[in-house]
């Protein structure tokens, strides 16, 4: 017997057989043992051509170069800041990556970023041991002032952003909030208190129903139609 044993978008659990025979190739979060392909995580089966992969529905954030994340300053060192990335690994923000202006050697770094500040940064380097370097020099990266930060499942971030940002721009216009989503699952929003509340509820709705299709319509209905 050979062929797929699951349908596209089926929910599968670790160890479930996805395909039998050599007609299919194991993609992300799957593995092959003898002639069967098994799932490695809890998620949605995704068949594209001959490749079977799993889109995880939960799980820890794995840092990747180029990801925009929201981080918290936890320590100040000689050469920069140590930031908490909301994973098992903290990251380093070097002085020269912190600002486009020149920072003098004797300057007090806590005047620029104090312990406890939240910042929007991008990851510029990740080693095999998950040592992370971040930068704040690119456009759109800044220190966070005001608003609120909520925590969502990092695997649901793509759904909250939506195709070409459709979901997030919908929430932004409906609630009049400024929203920044970090790939690590931290979301910052700033607007009126009511708007922030509504935006949070909308994001929670997306998080809860992320495995369903037609989500943008559901969220639009939740936020009060056209």
């Amino acid at each position: 017997m050979s062929g797929l044993t699951v349908q596209n978008r089926d929910i599968v659990i670790p160890g479930e057989v996805l395909a039998e025979g050599m007609d299919f190739l194991p993609g992300e979060n799957t593995y092959r043992e003898s002639d069967k392909i098994y799932s490695k995580v809890l998620g949605l089966a995704n068949v594209s051509g001959r490749v079977v992969k799993i889109t995880p529905l939960s799980g820890p954030y794995v840092p990747k170069v180029g990801d925009k994340i929201i981080a918290k300053v936890i320590d100040i060192t000689m050469s920069g800041w140590r930031v908490d990335t909301h994973t098992a690994y903290s990251a380093m923000l070097n002085v020269r990556d912190a600002s486009s202006r020149f920072i003098k050697k004797e300057e007090d770094l806590s005047k620029i970023l104090a312990i406890g500040d939240f910042i929007v940064v991008t990851i510029i380097n990740v080693t095999s041991q998950n040592l992370i370097d971040v930068t704040m020099k690119e456009p759109g990266l800044h220190k966070i002032e005001g608003g609120r930060i909520i925590e969502i499942n990092s695997q649901k971030v793509p759904r909250v952003i939506g195709k070409q940002g459709s979901m997030i721009s919908l929430i932004k216009t409906k609630t009049n909030c400024e929203i920044t989503i970090g790939q690590n699952g931290l979301v910052w929003m700033k607007g009126t208190p009511e708007g922030e509340m509504q935006a949070e509820q909308a994001i929670r709705l997306v998080e809860k129903k992320s495995h369903l299709e037609g989500l943008t319509d559901k969220v639009e209905a939740f936020l009060g139609g056209k």
């Binding site: 929910i11 659990i13 160890g15 098994y38 490695k40 998620g43 939960s58 098992a88 041991q129 998950n130």
Partner: protein, 241 residues
């Protein structure tokens, strides 16, 4: 040769009624509740997170650390002193060893994934319920796993080879006046679902080789029921509407 009918009227290969649910603790990365008869285990998974003390850190892969705890009035007898004790530490160790073969933490060097299991109510088979619950909680937390682990106890009560012993059966000489000198063997086992590899096998009491083998065969069949329930619970946790 007098333990004819099981105390609760089950067939020899019948398990106590089971119930499983995932996502019972919203603050945890993953969580699960697993009930079998009166035994009830709640597992919560946290992490991966920074590992302390630092000498435990492994730069090649993450560490899996289990914690097992029975609540003060969970048993049928006296109050159990809360917190860790020698027995809890040993069970936590065998749980870790039972789960480790399927959990892949190579992506999380120097980190730890913590599994906490609480038992609000116990009636034999707690380590098995704990492992079954922990396996579901790890899956729900999205930790990469090769497979699921299912666990159940088998054994021999007097002359009968049975699955999923209750506390009364473990103490049959106390509860069945005609089995005063009976021997009881209680064999908790845990198995990787696809390969049927055994990751936990312990025994209390004594048993002959033939009986042990037939008990293990009985266990493999019983474990399939546990696995089907775990699978159903994990899939049902996603709302359809």
């Amino acid at each position: 040769m007098v333990y004819k009918k099981r105390f609760d009227g089950r067939k020899d290969d019948e398990l106590r009624p089971m119930e499983a649910k995932v996502g019972v603790i919203p603050n945890a990365a993953g969580s699960a509740s697993f009930k079998i008869g009166k035994t009830w285990a709640i597992a919560a998974v946290y992490g991966p997170k920074d590992l302390f003390p630092r000498f435990l850190q492994d730069p090649k892969k993450g560490l899996l650390r289990c914690h097992y705890s029975m609540m003060p009035f969970s048993g049928s007898g006296e109050r159990i002193r809360p917190g860790s004790n020698r027995r809890a530490q040993e069970i936590a160790m065998v749980m870790t060893k039972a789960l480790e073969p399927v959990v892949d933490l190579s992506a999380f060097p120097n980190a730890v994934v913590e599994v906490y299991v609480e038992l609000p109510q116990t009636d034999a088979g707690t380590r098995c319920a704990a492992i079954s619950a922990a396996s579901m909680a790890l899956a729900q937390a999205g930790i990469p796993m090769k497979d699921m682990i299912s666990s159940v106890a088998v054994g021999k009560v007097d002359n009968k080879i049975v699955a999923d012993l209750s506390y009364m059966e473990e103490q049959v000489h106390e509860f069945n006046p005609e089995s005063k000198d009976a021997t009881v063997s209680d064999i908790p086992m845990a198995v990787v679902n696809n390969t049927k590899e055994i990751t936990l096998l312990q025994m209390d009491g004594e048993i002959s080789k033939e009986d042990l083998l037939s008990a293990l065969r009985l266990g493999q069949k019983a474990l399939d029921q546990v696995y089907q329930l775990q699978k159903k619970a994990l899939k049902e946790s996603f709302v359809k509407e």
